[in-house]
């Protein structure tokens, strides 16, 4: 069941009024200032990439609901905001305690690198050397050995990403660079934290963190990306993450988005998988006032496995949009996708999951499931599975359901003495539990569970909490 959406799918697409020149011009002007203000000289190819990106952005402007990819999500509130790039040091008000609140309460055991407003915060980071593993600032690599990044940085924009990725390509200053040498099984998980500060000026701030992860042949690693902001802060975090898995690599990735309630979040993650590599992703979109999340995966060779799990939980007037693409471009690859949504209040959710099985990708095995739980009459979700199968001898399956809390289950729990609010919340947690339960880093799993519980009434009681499997 897919409830009718505000945008009529059959009729003429709604058009936003043409974007005023000033909107895109503002970014051009900003770009000139940005380029002029770069203190470290950048290689010509990077300057060209930035120049191309801003030109493309100027040309395309922000996406509108007239575009297929954006028809459920209007970014007009982002387009009309005059964001400000915070000056270096403005985020220095962000302290260890602020980060700790999103750092899984100190229970996380592993490497942690922290960026504030898109720039490295060395004082908040802690990395211990481990067998050739590199976790560092992208800006650092750019200044020392830029050629290592050349092939990666240009890639996203050529991947047909949106004009938000163009903005990121034009403006990114920093982000994480993670390199796992071939054959290394990284012992401890890696936590990449992207915090947004309140800035020091009145206007909303903007940051464009760029992360590049390269998992060498046969390496293994667990990486967590957290996006969060100082409570109440208004900003746009426009992140791009690029992940490359070389042959036989295994990477388990987790994104925990807990942006402030006034924030915008746009995240684009591109994943390229080599032969027989295994990629697992768990994505939790929990915060922000407007969040858009793209996952674009590609099997670039045979025998890969990909698992995408995700959960979004929204309430009030929050809007959460997830688009995923799994690209079976080669034979003998397996993908499993499970995305769930929980919507309360007047919130709005979108899941568009595209699975592309290209010509010749025989023995493809793909499953996709999307389940949404509506907790209020005013919440609305659009679920669009898109299977495009151009190969034969493949196994593909998808299913999508949207429903309310099971009234029979609710009565069953109440009939045993569980108060209604607790029973409801228990069922909501139970709905989320199979996605949350797949996270294998205990501190991260506990942190997500805690976050969910705090949003739900009636779950203060420890005993009720224990009842969630």
């Amino acid at each position: 069941m897919t409830p009718a959406s505000a945008v009529d799918q059959g009729g003429a697409p709604q058009r936003l009024p043409a974007q005023s020149m000033t909107e895109t011009d503002r970014y051009r002007t900003e770009f000139e200032a940005f380029a002029a203000g770069r203190s470290t000289p950048e290689p010509a190819w990077l300057r060209e990439q930035r120049e191309e990106a801003i030109a493309r952005f100027q040309d395309r402007g922000f996406p509108t609901v007239a575009e297929e990819e954006w028809r459920f999500t209007s970014v007009a509130p982002i387009a009309r905001t005059a964001f400000r790039r915070p000056a270096p040091g403005e985020g220095s008000g962000v302290r260890t305690a602020d980060v700790a609140a999103f750092g899984f309460e100190g229970a996380f055991e592993g490497h942690q690198i922290v960026f504030v407003d898109g720039r490295l915060a060395p004082g908040l980071s802690s990395i211990t050397p481990e067998g050739g593993l590199q976790i560092c600032s992208l800006a650092d690599v750019l200044s020392r050995e830029p050629e290592r990044l050349r092939s990666h940085l240009g890639r996203v924009v050529s991947d047909g990403a949106s004009s938000f990725a163009d903005l990121n390509a034009a403006f990114f200053e920093d982000g994480a660079f993670v390199f796992i040498p071939p054959g290394l099984a990284v012992d401890k998980p890696i936590h990449l934290v992207f915090m947004s500060s309140r800035g020091t000026g009145p206007a909303s701030t903007i940051s464009h963190p760029r992360t590049v992860v390269v998992a060498g042949r046969g390496s293994q690693v667990q990486i967590v990306e957290s996006y969060a902001g100082v409570p109440g802060a208004a900003y746009l975090a426009n992140a791009v993450t690029q992940i490359v898995l070389e042959d036989g690599a295994g990477l388990e990735h987790c994104t925990v988005q807990r942006e402030s309630e006034a924030a915008f979040h746009v995240g684009f993650m591109a994943v390229v998988q080599g032969r027989a590599s295994r990629f697992k992703s768990h994505s939790f979109a929990l915060g922000g006032r407007l969040a858009r999340n793209d996952v674009r995966q590609l099997f670039a060779d045979e025998g890969g496995e990909c698992e995408l799990n995700g959960l979004f939980a929204v309430a009030g007037e929050q809007h959460s949009d997830t688009h995923t693409v799994i690209d079976h471009a080669h034979p003998h690859c397996t993908s499993r996708e499970l995305y769930k949504g929980i919507l309360d209040g007047k919130s709005r959710g979108v899941f568009v999951g595209r699975i592309l099985v290209r010509e010749g990708a025989r023995k493809t095995d793909a499953h996709q499931t999307n389940k949404n739980l509506l907790l209020s009459r005013e919440a609305l979700v659009d679920s669009v599975p898109q299977l495009e199968i151009l190969a034969s001898d493949v196994k593909c399956k998808h299913g999508s359901t949207t429903g309310q809390l099971d009234s029979a289950a609710l009565f069953y729990l109440r009939s045993r003495g569980i108060p209604e609010a607790a029973a409801r919340s228990l069922l909501v947690c139970a709905f989320a539990s199979d996605v949350v339960g797949r996270v294998r880093i205990p501190a991260v799993k506990a942190g997500i569970e805690r976050h969910l519980r705090e949003q739900l009434p009636g779950l203060r009681d420890r005993e009720i909490q224990e009842a969630v499997l």
């Binding site: 069953y412 045993r416 003495g417 499997l469």
Partner: protein
């Protein structure tokens, strides 16, 4: 213990209970029999407080209190228990831990101390034995993937844990094999105490061979048309309900 007076109830605009009268004292076991669709489960649900039923007339008193004014959870805490005809599967919710939360909510309400994990688990061990249910089973998600018979045992297991003064068992015997029926009935008999009242909804005389009722009622088209002792159940087994239908007409 339980007093139902001239109870009329409807669902979705349709009258299902058309004037039910029933009095059950502590220590008694009452059986309610009647054809499919006569309103037995509806009566059980109205007693337990399931939303979706509208009581248009009559009263239900439990230990002198107006049961109909209470939420389902308040009724449970006061000691009303319903063993469901169709126990609900709840993936993601732990059977024992939800039960522990329920028991401690009830104990708190009764002014008893809450049980800690150790005490609770030994209680689980003891009560699981009572209905011969596998301990690993009761620790899984509520009824998820349980067989029909396992679900019914789980209902009696929950009843044994919660120790309610009033238990309404809705067709707990349906779907049980002969051995399971004996075991479940044995479990119920052990819970048959002078303080507890039990209402058994059943289609089969066989259950009543194991759990001998004090009173047998026939519910027909939303009314109790005949009450008697255990011999009435035998008569129903032999003659069916047709001979009673004349008395069901308003």
């Amino acid at each position: 213990m339980l007093e139902v007076k001239d109870l009329h109830a409807s669902a979705n605009g349709r009258e299902i209970l058309k004037g039910v009268d029933l009095r059950v004292k502590a220590g008694e076991v009452h059986a309610i029999m009647g054809p499919n669709g006569s309103g037995k489960s509806t009566l059980a649900h109205v007693i337990a407080g399931r939303p979706g039923y509208e009581v248009t007339r009559g009263r239900v008193l439990y230990q002198g209190q107006d049961l109909l004014a209470m939420t389902p959870e308040a009724r449970a805490r006061e000691g009303v228990f319903l063993a469901f005809q169709y126990p609900v599967e709840i993936p993601g919710v732990s059977n024992v831990y939800f039960l522990k939360a329920a028991l401690n909510a009830i104990r708190k309400h009764r002014g008893q101390s809450e049980l800690d994990a150790m005490d609770f688990l030994s209680l689980v061990k003891e009560k699981a034995k009572l209905v011969d249910i596998d301990e690993s089973l009761v620790k899984r998600a509520v009824n998820e993937g349980f067989s029909g018979g396992e679900k019914k045992r789980n209902e009696i297991f929950q009843m044994a844990i919660l120790d309610p003064p009033l238990a309404v068992l809705d067709e707990t015997d349906s779907g049980l094999d002969i051995d399971a029926l004996r075991i479940v009935a044995g479990g119920v008999n052990q819970l048959r105490t002078p303080e507890r009242a039990i209402v058994l909804v059943t289609h089969y005389q066989r259950l009543l061979d194991y759990i001998v009722p004090d009173v047998v009622h026939v519910l027909l088209d939303g009314r109790i048309v005949k009450s008697g002792d255990k011999e009435l159940a035998r008569e129903l087994e032999a003659r069916g309900y047709e001979w009673l239908e004349a008395s069901a007409a308003p």
